[in-house]
């Protein structure tokens, strides 16, 4: 209300007052009172003041709604972050806590097998076979536990690479031989071929993990047909190719399979956590390389890993 009220000349200063009221309303407050409405010098000015008050109340209400929505949204984001952190913490603690019982199991089964070999009994060979089964399952549990631990390492940026000179052909050949030695009757034939001296600076245990994952997938999804593993030198890069003639991957699944907990097959038909290719991709990325798949449903799959042979790497992913 202007000094002296709106009384004497209702038109004088009205525009200035409206602008002042608008500025106040813009700042979230108003100085218009019930007395101003009652004492308005004309119906027009009263209507104007009522209009400004309504505008103020509408804006006030909207601001309240927006603040509530923002608070709710902030709360949801905070809840989501807390849930993700709790999940990662659980993965880390669970995989960590599983390590001691796994160690004990492995020690006991290994020593049991040795003890049995030292004192053969009547049903010794049956027992040895059963112990070998337990051992294989313990190794499988160790692999799953290691995968869960890798997830927590990678998501928290703690995947450290220990680079050293490696001959990829020699390394992959060893892995192929390991698979061949572990294979049971009826397992697919693994054909291996490598260029000579495909050397580079890599973390051998992590590259072993990548190659083992691809070969294990070819065994699992290769429909029992022979499959090929090859290593090539291509300029400044090394290339590992695993090609199978198995069930293949549909076009809409080809990118998804490199995501965490994603699988191209039904979990009712094939066991697994859906972490292997995600971890493999993180390892390859950390080396500055690429992993790609070429496949069609029912026509097999070809996984290609390309690794730079020497590169300055920060040592973490």
């Amino acid at each position: 209300m202007p000094p002296g009220g709106y009384g004497a000349d209702p038109n004088i200063g009205v525009i200035g007052d409206v602008l002042r009221h608008l500025a106040e309303i813009g700042a979230g407050r108003t100085s218009i009172t019930d007395a101003d409405l009652a004492n308005a010098p004309s119906d027009l000015i009263r209507e104007l003041l009522v209009g400004l008050l309504t505008l103020h109340e509408d804006l006030h209400y909207e601001r309240g709604l927006r603040a509530g929505a923002e608070q709710q949204s902030d709360g949801l984001v905070a809840d989501l972050r807390a849930a993700v952190a709790a999940r990662d913490e659980f993965l880390s603690v669970a995989s960590h806590e599983l390590r001691t019982p796994l160690t004990t199991l492995r020690l006991v089964t290994t020593t049991l097998a040795r003890a049995l070999a030292h004192s053969p009994s009547e049903n010794g060979s049956d027992l040895a076979r059963q112990i070998a089964v337990i051992n294989r399952q313990v190794v499988r549990l160790e692999t799953l536990t290691a995968a869960l631990l890798d997830v927590s390492r990678i998501t928290s940026g703690r995947l450290a690479l220990h680079l050293e000179p490696v001959d990829l052909g020699v390394l992959v050949h060893e892995i192929v031989n390991r698979f061949r030695a572990d294979q049971t009757e009826g397992a697919p034939l693994i054909e291996f071929q490598s260029d000579s001296s495909v050397t580079g600076q890599w973390d051998p245990s992590r590259i072993d993990q990548v190659a083992s994952n691809l070969i294990a997938n070819a065994v699992s999804y290769g429909k029992g047909a022979p499959f090929q593993v090859s290593v090539h030198a291509v300029g400044d890069a090394a290339r590992l190719i695993v090609r199978d003639e198995g069930i293949g991957i549909a076009a809409d699944q080809r990118l998804r399979i490199f995501e965490r907990f994603e699988r191209a097959v039904s979990s009712s038909n094939y066991s697994g956590l859906g972490l292997g290719l995600w971890i493999a991709k993180q390892i390859v990325d950390a080396h500055g390389g690429q992993i790609e798949v070429d496949s069609e449903l029912g026509r097999g799959a070809t996984f290609t890993v390309t690794l730079p042979r020497s590169r300055a790497i920060d040592g973490s992913a």
């Binding site: 001691t100 160690t103 004990t104 492995r106 020690l107 006991v108 290994t110 040795r114 536990t145």
Partner: protein
Amino acid sequence: MDARIVVIDDDADLRKALCWMLRLDGFEVSEFSDATEAISRIEGGLPADLILLDLMMPRMNGWEFCTYRAQSSVLTKVPVIMITARQSIVPPTGVSEILLKPFDPQLLQAVIARTLARPSVSGQE
């Protein structure tokens, strides 16, 4: 003479499994669930060529054991292999090797052989 190994681990099942394997390998083994008791026995004359030490233990943990060991004229001569499930730990003073659980028993055998073959160990007694 076969080497004498002291196993210190509060997890009874793991400790027994370690001892069983080591005895089968021909070692003379003493086992303790409590590091303070192991200290008192070794300083009291229990022969020890190597200590297998767990990291996380209730009364005295592996770090505290190693801190004590560094001050002990008897213990400091005995090499320590630490066994732990914890990733990326800084090796405590005096620890020769760290074995990360779960490990291949053959790796443990190799690490023990390597540690016992070091001059500081074989030159003892």
